[in-house]
Structures are given as C-alpha cells and as structure tokens.
C-alpha cells in the first residue's frame, strides 16, 4: 500500500445517517477526526454516508483518501472496563452481564425477523390481490378488444356490401 500523508486540518467530512424510511437521523460535518453515535428507532436498513465535497482536495491531492472507520453496534458499544469500575462488579458478574447482553441481542434479532415476516406476508397478500385483479382486467380487455374488432369489421364489410 502506498504511503499516505497525514490529513490537512481543513478537510471536512460530511456524515449523514438515514433510517429505513429515508429520514435523516444525523447530518453533520466533521473535521478530519470525529465520532458519532445514534440509536435506531425502527428496524431495517440504515445508511451511513461519508461524503467529502472539496474541489481543493481533488486539485492538491491525487484524489485518494484513506479513512479509518470504526463502527460498533449493539452490545459491542458497552465498555466492560468502565462498567466494572463504576459498579464495582466482580468478574463473574461481568461474564453474566455479557451473557445477558447477548441474549438481549438475540431477542432483538428475533423481533426483527418477526417484523420482516409480517411485512412479507402483507406484501404477498397484496401481490396476490393485484395478480387476481390484473388477470381479470386483462381477460376483460381481451374480450372487449375481440368484440370491438368483430363489430368494426362487420360494419366495414356491410359498407363494402360484401356481407
């Protein structure tokens, strides 16, 4: 890997976080270093975007940027050393605490899957309805077109005195 220079101080990285409904949970500008936290309000795909909009950057630096990204989710955000120091917990207590966090994560994941299944079922049912209506509609269109064809040709031949 090539060597990178340390980043200049004027670099501003724009960070925004979007929730599953495409609403902005966080939109802020940071200098070359920064940290942010957010709590998800609804289950689903969240988007984290790091954006560098700087013409100055493209002109002076080859256009290559190395970003160090450290992202922690869920139970990884808990700092056990801090917990141990603040509450004076024994090692066993800490271990059990970690197990509790793991079980909570499993529960959350199961809740997420339950919501996905519910959403999927709703989508399936609506698709089923739509397919049914569309088939009926298409058959009607077909029959109507056939009738129109026959009537049009019949009147055409009558006019031509062939019928």
């Amino acid at each position: 890997m090539e060597k990178y220079q340390p980043s200049p101080q004027w670099i501003n990285l724009f960070v925004f976080v979007k929730d599953p409904e495409n609403k902005n949970l966080l939109a802020r500008q940071y200098g070359p270093r920064g940290s942010f936290t957010f709590t998800s309000q609804s289950p689903g795909e969240h988007e984290v975007c790091l954006h560098l909009k700087s013409i100055r950057f493209a002109l002076f630096y080859d256009g290559k940027l190395a970003i160090h990204l450290d992202m922690q989710l869920g139970e990884h955000t808990n700092d056990h050393t801090e917990l141990a120091a603040n509450d004076k917990l024994t090692l066993l207590h800490l271990r059990i605490q970690r197990l509790v966090e793991q079980v909570e994560k499993i529960q959350k994941e199961q809740e997420y899957q339950r919501r996905r299944e519910e959403h999927f079922r709703q989508t399936s049912e609506s698709t089923n309805q739509r397919v049914l209506w569309w088939s009926i509609l298409q058959t009607l269109i077909l029959v109507a077109t056939g009738i129109w064809q026959m009537q049009h040709l019949k009147s055409f031949f009558k006019a031509k005195k062939l019928v």
Binding site: E45, W148, F157
Partner: protein, 218 residues
C-alpha cells in the same frame, strides 16, 4: 455489526480506502454498496502469526456474484476468486503489515451490488483487557458462563446468516416483481397494437388501391 450499510460516495473521482484498524483484535463486519465497474478495497494491519478470516456474501444486484482478491503486505495474492456468491477464507499472517482485500464489480456494466463481509482478526479478546495476563483456573460458574457464551455466539452467528438470506430473498422478489409489472404493461400494449393492426390489415385487403397519378381528362 451488520444491518448498517455505509456507502462511500464522493463528489469528485476520489478513491476512498476504508482502513479498518483493529485497535481491539476483533475485526469488522460491513455491508457496503459496490457500484458497477468499480472496485472497493479495504486494508487491515495484521501482526505476524495471527490468524484472520474473511467471509463475504453478495446481498443484492445482478447475478449476486462478485470478484474478490486478497494481497499480503509484499504484494502477493493470497486469495483470488471470480464471480462468487459467497465464500469463506482463513489465513495465518506470515508477514506483519497491511493486508489488502478488494471486491470488484468490474465485469458488470449496469448492476451495482451490495456486498456483506465479515473480517475477523485473531481471537476474541478477554472480557477485561488486563485479564489476558492472569492465568487462573476457572470456577464451575465461570466455565458454565464461557460455555453459554460460546453457544450464544453460534446462535447470533446463525441469526446473522438468516438476516442476510432474508435480505437477499427480498431483493430477488422485488426484482421479480418489477420485471413482472413491466412485462404485464408491455403485454397489454402489445395486445392493443396487434389487434389494431389486424383490423387495419384486413381492411386494407378489401380496399381498392387508388391509382397513383390520375390524369384529368378535360
């Protein structure tokens, strides 16, 4: 981690390299978007003798396949696969330095892909950072906790795979839905065009052709 999609977007042609530095020997999971005809690389500093593993899966896009290759600090390719949907790879680092792995979508012209990868370096750290130096026998309670912890890790891991599978199936279903919608509309239009031209064609068989260039008799 997982379930969060970071997208590296830049206004001007910048190559963004995401450096995942393991301050804690754990690694990272990331789901990112890979545009068509693009390559995205990640770098990690690994000590000598440490075992690391990479597994990846394509979630959405095209034929759900991606190229992946991995290079050691000396530039040798230690892993290279083309058009894989998912794969898993472990390696013991012989050389200390920055290892690079890249995902390439350069073979695809219009489908951008979402790729999930999980890069783990070394073993799981002990619950308290200073514990690694102490060598004490575990009580029964503690060993029970360790066993439960490992079992729960397996559960969380398989849940993660289910979540990825569900996302992939959803992407496929939505793709199918849009294709069916477009086809239905196209078929209706074709129906109208065909029936209209049938009638016109039949009419033209029975219409006398007017002679071109009528001369006017005075």
């Amino acid at each position: 981690m997982g379930g969060v999609v970071p997208r590296s977007v830049s206004a001007l042609p910048l190559l963004l390299l995401l450096l995942l530095q393991a301050e804690r020997p754990r690694g990272a999971e990331l789901t990112f978007e890979l545009p068509d005809n693009a390559k995205q690389c990640f770098h990690e500093e690994v000590e000598q003798g440490v075992k690391f593993s990479l597994d990846y899966q394509v979630i959405t896009g095209g034929h759900y396949d991606v190229d992946c290759f991995m290079k050691d600090p000396l530039g040798n390719t230690i892993y290279s696969e083309t058009k894989k949907q998912y794969d898993s790879f472990t390696h013991k680092a012989e050389v200390k330095g920055v290892y690079q792995f890249c995902f390439s979508n350069e073979f695809s012209t219009f489908s951008h892909k979402t790729v999930y990868f999980d890069f783990q370096v070394g073993d799981e750290p002990p619950i308290l950072p200073d514990m690694g130096n102490r060598v004490t026998a575990l009580t029964q309670m503690e060993s029970a906790c360790v066993t439960i912890h490992e079992a729960l890790k397996t559960v969380i891991d398989s849940q993660k795979h289910y979540r990825l599978r569900e996302a992939q199936d959803r992407a496929r279903a939505e793709d199918l839905n849009s294709r069916v919608s477009y086809w239905s509309i196209g078929e209706t239009i074709a129906l109208f065009v065909v029936s209209f031209s049938q009638v016109l064609l039949l009419k033209s068989f029975f219409t006398e052709k007017r002679p071109i260039g009528r001369t006017v008799h005075s």
